[in-house]
Symmetry: C2
């Protein structure tokens, strides 16, 4: 997505804490938060979810005034944000996220006797979270980064997005009625955000936004005297590949669903499909034109989004290797979207990789291919993405689909559906190879997002009374404990068959 | 540890591949290695362990010629390296390291229906490994970084340490008889190493060495157009705290064990205790002097180690806030160690934090404290470490020990034993907060080291035949699968009691 605007000079937002004040508060809260029993920590997350629901009316009003996203979408986003908080509460309560391992002593071990070694994850400490413009709830003050960090036991300092400062402060005030002092603070302004990334008390950073903005903060985090982890979710092209078989079988349905996915929320999603690969003889151009033309322009999140969208679109429209299928009139008004569709060939993409850039808004590029090799050669040069989608036929396309899966570099591979709409589940991965994320190992959505904010500690020969509760042999917190690498008892699933060697 | 020397100008080592050649070979091998069934991958690791054992004689001879470490130590290190390879073979075979999660579809889910989401870890791709001077086997060509990367399914390009180039090439040649082409290559030279870190094919870097050298390569990896994960295991002070009770009860034993730990392998371990905190009235100065004086000087790994050791030692010896307890004569000869012991007060450390620097070699600093607060105030300013050790009495010291544990920032907390000798087990953590490691989330020793070289991929609505084997519902590879966040059947340990709320 495009970079956020510079802070407005009129000082209309409430006075912000300094980064140093906020970080100091978080630092004071850190040991208290880390020491809470898991059931209490889970209770805080559930109470935050309840509070959001109880104040949904005013939250939607304030959010709509600042983001123009509409009451229906915003109400749904609050429910998603509540679901995220509750999922992390469940995860905290089971204790599996502590990744407890116990290796009992072994005096007979070779090449040397082994002491008692027990390991678990502990909170990193205060975390900075940069919230997103396009999800004022789900990726903002009480969004997934904050929920997962609180689940880990880390206090959070949120850098509010300039697109919804009032909502950010309101959300903070509601959370203050639930959380211990210092567990969640909100700061405003770009310079304050930069100061946060270099503040000595901050131990990790989460970020959702543009590749350029994320890269600048990633570099800043890495330049500290003590570099800290920086988890940025940046831009993504989200290619969709349609096999010849699928195109012949249900090309018209695919086109209609594609246009709906491209223009959902005016294309202001990091999972918007930016590329559609169709066989050269697809015969769907008229339908593509008709479907995109039928989407009415609508307000964008902010003028800065519109300005960036129209500038990127202009470059694509005037590119000699791309042909415009449809450009909605009024595309010079930064306040409204202007849905657009362009087309080029797979060969054109290889010759002009500058066409491979995210255009945050309701625009997409249809790429035609002449053969499987023509398609695969082009997929191999795509940058890493959050998602990649295949529309195919099964079992007919099995061989081709395996080759496509191997060629697509993405954090989520989707079959016969669409990348927009990210399910919040244990297994969801919302990340991917650069530039979709700054770390390919981590996710900003789903149960494992909590692992970003924790570090392992091993305890050697520690007496039971000095061990943290989750590591004790009596297991007073009833958490899953692996012993010598395996859970006691039933580790293999009951339905397991023999190991295949093929 | 100190930075490695510049490459010798005489070109005596065998001709090295360029970084680009080696990376290209690794890139070609990557899909083949990733596609191997787990049992075959495990078999390769076991075959490497066998090969090391079969050629132990010549390996020890070549290693001793280059490192002066002696046959006994080197033979033991080969056995440790074999144990590492076999542990990762076991880990590969169970399949738990793939971290498989399956969330079945839920059409009734709120706020939106949920598709089928399945997640596993996949190999990152070619990995660069910078081997260490002080472990020519266990942290070198077939050491823990390489073993864990191969376990993950990643080809490895090893940058050989300048201290044992011949051994590195010999080990590579032996491995070539076992591994697929391109799965393991070795390059030489500092500039080649830097080229490796910026090579587009390399997807992650492992490093063991000095803080300065590691920082330079960390910065290089972060400056790429596409930054990659850099896992550096750097320097550590490894403080040891002796409580007043433990000092009174068994101070003399502790001193003898401390000197043995400080001078083990001439102090050339990253876990060497660099600080010993004793109560001010310890009365052990004569014993400390006698014990350290009884340790004979011995050859160091290389002149560059000796030069750095003696330079750091000179700064400590001439520091006005430190008093020399013992300095072995001959400390100006870079070819031999000169065991040394200094002392200062906790207050002196707080006033002169420049005393808190790693001195790689057989030297350590005894710090006296006057009260628990005096001790804790000083522990709070220590940099992050690989280890921290408490010698105390149980149950008498319980309260103090809890405060000490909370104050010590380290990856491994040790009770009444010593940090040297890192057990290679599932739960071992060998890493820690900066500057002991570049990433506090990861370890270079122990079962979870494999996670450094893998990234998650989620599969959405993918038909059974298109899913990787570990994600299929039929589970043909018989790997542990979490469903909706939990393993089917017995997830909680059988001995579990109720959850404590206190």
């Amino acid at each position: 997505m495009p970079a956020a605007p510079a802070p407005s000079p009129d000082g209309a937002s409430p006075p912000a804490s300094t980064a140093a004040d906020a970080s100091a508060q978080a630092g004071t809260a850190a040991p208290e938060l880390a020491a809470l029993p898991l059931s209490v920590r889970a209770g805080l997350l559930r109470a935050l979810a309840r509070t959001l629901g109880e104040h949904a009316g005013v939250l939607v009003d304030v959010a709509d005034g600042e983001t123009r996203l509409g009451a229906e979408r915003l109400s749904g986003e609050i429910r998603r944000t509540q679901a995220q908080l509750r999922m992390f509460a469940d995860i905290v309560e089971t204790g599996a996220f502590l990744d407890v391992m116990i290796d009992p002593p072994d005096p007979a071990a070779q090449p040397a006797p082994r002491p008692d070694i027990r390991r678990m994850l502990v909170p990193l400490g205060p975390v900075a979270v940069f919230s997103a413009s396009n999800f004022p709830f789900a990726f903002s003050v009480l969004g997934g980064d904050t929920a997962s960090a609180l689940a880990a036991g880390c206090p959070v300092v949120v850098k509010a997005h300039e697109g919804h400062p009032g909502l950010s402060d309101l959300t903070r005030d509601l959370a203050a009625g639930v959380l211990p002092t210092g567990a969640l603070t909100v700061v405003h302004g770009r310079e304050t955000g930069r100061a946060l990334v270099t503040d000595p008390a901050i131990r990790a950073v989460g970020f959702t936004g543009s590749t350029s903005g994320g890269r600048a903060l990633f570099d800043l985090a890495g330049s500290r005297p003590d570099p800290i982890p920086f988890y940025g979710e940046l831009g993504s092209l989200n290619p969709v590949v349609v096999t010849p078989g699928a195109c012949a079988e249900r090309g018209a349905d695919i086109v209609r669903e594609y246009i709906a996915s491209v223009t959902l929320g005016q294309g202001q999603f990091c999972t918007k499909p930016g590329l559609l690969f169709l066989p050269a003889d697809h015969g769907l151009e008229e339908l593509l034109r008709r479907e995109i033309a039928a989407v009415p322009p609508a307000p964008l999140l902010g003028d800065w989004i519109g300005t960036a969208y129209h500038a990127t679109l202009e470059e694509l429209v005037t590119h000699p290797a791309a042909r415009t299928l449809h450009l909605t009139p009024g595309h010079d008004d930064p306040r409204t979207s202007a849905p657009a569709l362009l087309t080029t060939t797979a060969e054109g993409v290889r010759a002009h990789p500058e066409l491979l850039r995210e255009c945050f808004g309701p625009a997409s590029l249809v790429v035609t291919y002449t053969s499987a090799d023509d398609l695969l050669d082009t997929l191999h040069i795509l940058p890493g993405g959050l998602t990649a989608t295949i529309h195919g036929q099964e079992p007919q396309d099995e061989t081709l689909a395996h080759r496509l899966s191997a060629a697509l570099s993405a954090g989520r591979l989707i079959w016969n559906s669409w990348p927009t709409g990210v399910a919040v589940t244990h297994a969801m991965h919302h990340g991917g190879p650069w530039p979709s994320a700054t770390s390919p190992l981590h996710t900003s959505v789903g149960g494992t997002a909590v692992a970003r904010w924790m570090r392992p500690v091993a305890y050697q020969n520690m007496p039971e009374a000095l061990l943290p509760e989750p590591l004790r042999s009596t297991n007073p917190w009833n958490v899953p404990q692996r012993v010598n690498g395996e859970f006691p008892g039933q580790w293999r699933p009951a339905r397991a068959t023999t190991v295949s060697e093929s």
